[in-house]
Each structure stands twice: as structure tokens, then as C-alpha cells.
Symmetry: none
Subunit: 225 residues, 2 copies
DNA sequence: TAGCATGGTAACCACAAGGTAACAGTATAG
DNA sequence: CTATACTGTTACCTTGTGGTTACCATGCTA
């Protein structure tokens, strides 16, 4: 999981980053609004972030404007944090499209929980996933196609669960790379091989693959039609 | 929108119900955990609620157990509220599957916002745009015309979402150029090609294009008339 | 009527993205 | 210690995308 932290207090930022790292969350850091905008421009979007933590009281401008920008076509959910207890601030941010807020001073464990929630990590409520003749039991870690039980390698299982969580929405290549090879330098071929192998294992005679490619957008778990 | 409020303080409950009603939110009310369980049993599920507001400090039992129950196969998202500021309580509830919390005493407008967000999270997942036989699912990135599924290239998808967001208002050429080719030098032909291709992909026999041109002003997504 | 601007369509093609198979190094199990 | 499976790597092939050009249609103006 990768998030963007926009926060001017260097000490607080350092603490936050340390804590989130310990929780397995990667953090990109912007000390100012200007820097955040640079990042947005560089990557051409905020798409690559699972969530954005946005401090409302930044020295160089109005954080609300960045919020608007992040929502203009991008999906990254925004959690804003504010020292002010003024209700109006909170309501304004919600109105602008923020999905959650936390009041300073906050407890780091709570921040971590909220970030994870925002990123949708907890939506693993569904114990089983079914699609046509494909049957995935998350808790038992069993995959079946029709009446044949399929054994997947660790990587393939990870990818399948990721796809199933988001189905039928597509999952971008970048998202998959981050999810399966969190640290290591990744090479495009590893991704291609993994996909081919998962497709092969899930395949069944005469039936089209359940893994659809949307060129340039990623892959999705859905029935062809 | 219909929600369930589980709260033992009658005065607070009445205020809350009044306020939420004024916001256009219908409220079912349970004063005790027992009553909440009855409701769950009657309707056979909490499914019919868009959200559940759950007070943690109820006289007749542990609210966490209801939380578990409400998650056992049902989809209603839970917002819990607590007078305690103990962090552990919050973390426990999050761990049990709550999606949000609010600390007493809370401001009613904030509660209303959070409830709407919570209820929206579920429906927001299925944000769709419809126009005649055209059907666009933003989160799943699926486009259908009638019962035919359409696959769009990244550029075309970007343009379609832009048009759909503003529909039925027209989008100027300059706006489109900036949105799709943010940095690069743009040539007018690229724009023309893109439009033609999107029109072609969205076309259906005998039906006029859903993309109308307003000369000099741009293009708009609307039915011809 | 010619001339020009705006907009639409079709065809071409370089090239990047995606798919497959085979091989090799390394871990893992029996 | 051997056999097996997993995963990274390379090579090669296929396909769709998107920039480009050429040409046509319409409408406005001189």
C-alpha cells in the first residue's frame, strides 16, 4: 500500500512515516502544497496512491484547492487532518470531497486504521468469490473451476485475491506490481509471466479466460461478453 | 435513505432523529441492543439499511456483538459512537468491522455528513451514468450500449468520463485537449481522430450518435432531439 | 461564386503493450 | 540428495493504439 502524506510539520511527519512504515504502509512525503502539486504533475496523476493524507493548515496555500485537484478525475481518497476543532472547516472539507478526517493531536494507531479503511483494505468481508464456474474460497485458500480443484503458487494466489477484491473493476499494472513485489525492483516481464501462468492455471477447455485485459488500464476478473 | 439508530439516551436520540429527518434521512430507532436484535430478526437482515449508527455504551450488553452480527453476511456499514475517548475502544470497534466512529458529544451536522458518506461508500462503488441505451459504470470501467459490452482505449475512456461528468453541458475543445494531452504539444487532428473513434465505438445501428457537436463551443453527451 | 474555417471519416503504419513458450537458477519437499 | 515446483529471464510473436495524412462536407464571408 502506498500513500501520500502532505504535512508541513517535519517532526510529526517523521513520526507518522515511521509508524506507517512499521504497519507495512509505504509513504511518499510532501512538505508543502507546492511539492504535492509537483508530485501530481510528475506522475500525471494521483492514481498511484491508495490514499492521501492532507494537512489543512499548510503554509503555502489553501489545502482545499489540492483536494479539488486530486478529485478531478483521480481516484485517490483523501483523509484530511486539522488542528482546528471548528466544525465549519470539517464540513467544508467534506463538501469538497474528502472522505474522512482526523483531529490533531491524533493517535497514530487510529490514523493507521483510518488509512487502511480508506484504502479499502478491509473490504475483505467476502469469504468466497464466484464467477461463472470459478470458485474462490478466501479463508480456506481453495480455488476450483467447475469440479476441478486448482493449486496456485503464492504469487498467483496473491494476484487472484487482489483481482477478486476489485472485481469486476480492473486493477492497474502499477497496483499489481506494488502488491506482489512491494520492495524489489520490478521488471515488466515478471508481471507478464505471472499473468500468463495464472491464466493457464485457471483455464478450462473451450471456456474463455476469466481474466480480461483492458489495454492500458490493467486486467479485470470478469466474464467475457 | 434509511438508517438504523441504536441509542439508549432518549433525548439525544430524538434530537438526532429530528435532525436527520430534516436532512432527508429516514431513521428507524432501537433504544436497546435487544430491540436492535429483534429488528434484525424480523427483517431477517440489516440489508435494508443504508447505514447503522451504533452507540457503544448500551445498558443491556456489548455493542460489539451486534456489530459482529450485522457484519455476518449483511452489508450495512456501521458508524459507532462512544463517550469514551479511550483509544482501545475505537481500535476494537474498527477491528470488529466498524467503518467509522464519532466521539460524544458530537455536532449533528457532522454526524449527518458521516452517515451520508458511509451510505455513499456502498453506492458510490456502483456509480453509473446512463443516457438512452448507453450505460457507463465508472468504478468497474465498463461501457455498454444496449446489451453489447464496449471496450474503449485509455484515451477514449478518459474522454468519455470527461463528457459524462459534464453532461449534458458541452465540453470545449481546449478543455479536452488539456485533459487528455496535459503536457505534449497537441495537433488538431489528434483531437478529431479521437472523437471519430469514440463515436464509432459507441455507435449503434439506426441510432444517432450520443455525442453532439456544438460548433465553436465543443461537444456534449446528450440525446439528439 | 470562390475562398476559407471548422468538423468528420477513412486508411496507413510505427511502435508500444500484451501474450506465450522455453530455459535456468533457486528454493522446497520427500 | 534428488526431484519437483516456483520464479526470474530471454526471445519472439501478435495486436491495438494513436499520431499522421489525405480527402470530403458544411457553413460563413467577401
Amino acid at each position: 500500500m502506498l500513500i501520500l502524506l502532505v504535512e508541513d510539520d517535519a517532526v510529526l511527519a517523521a513520526q507518522t512515516i515511521d509508524f506507517l512504515n512499521a504497519e507495512g504502509i509505504e509513504v511518499d512525503y510532501a512538505a508543502t502544497l507546492g511539492r504535492a502539486r509537483e508530485i501530481a504533475a510528475q506522475t500525471a496523476s494521483f492514481d498511484k496512491y491508495d490514499a492521501i493524507i492532507l494537512d489543512m493548515s499548510l503554509p503555502d496555500g489553501n489545502a482545499l484547492s489540492l483536494l479539488q485537484q486530486s478529485l478531478a478525475g483521480f481516484d485517490a481518497p483523501v483523509l484530511f487532518c486539522t488542528a482546528a476543532t471548528y466544525l465549519d472547516d470539517k464540513l467544508a472539507a467534506f463538501a469538497a470531497g474528502a472522505l474522512d478526517y482526523i483531529t490533531k493531536p491524533f493517535a497514530l494507531p487510529e490514523l493507521a486504521v483510518r488509512v487502511k479503511l480508506l484504502a479499502g483494505k478491509v473490504s475483505k468481508c467476502n469469504q468466497v468469490f464466484e464467477l461463472g464456474s470459478l470458485h474462490v474460497d478466501f479463508s480456506a485458500k481453495i480455488v476450483r473451476r467447475g469440479n476441478r480443484t486448482i493449486v496456485l503458487s503464492p504469487q498467483q494466489w496473491l494476484l487472484l485475491t487482489l483481482l477478486a477484491e476489485q472485481a469486476p473493476a480492473p486493477v492497474s499494472k502499477a497496483q499489481i506490481l506494488r502488491h506482489i513485489w512491494p520492495d524489489s525492483e520490478v521488471n515488466n516481464n515478471m508481471y507478464k509471466s505471472l499473468l500468463t501462468r495464472l491464466r493457464y492455471n485457471l483455464s478450462r477447455d473451450n471456456e474463455p479466460s476469466v481474466i480480461q485485459t483492458l489495454k492500458g488500464q490493467g486486467v479485470a476478473l470478469r466474464e467475457s461478453s
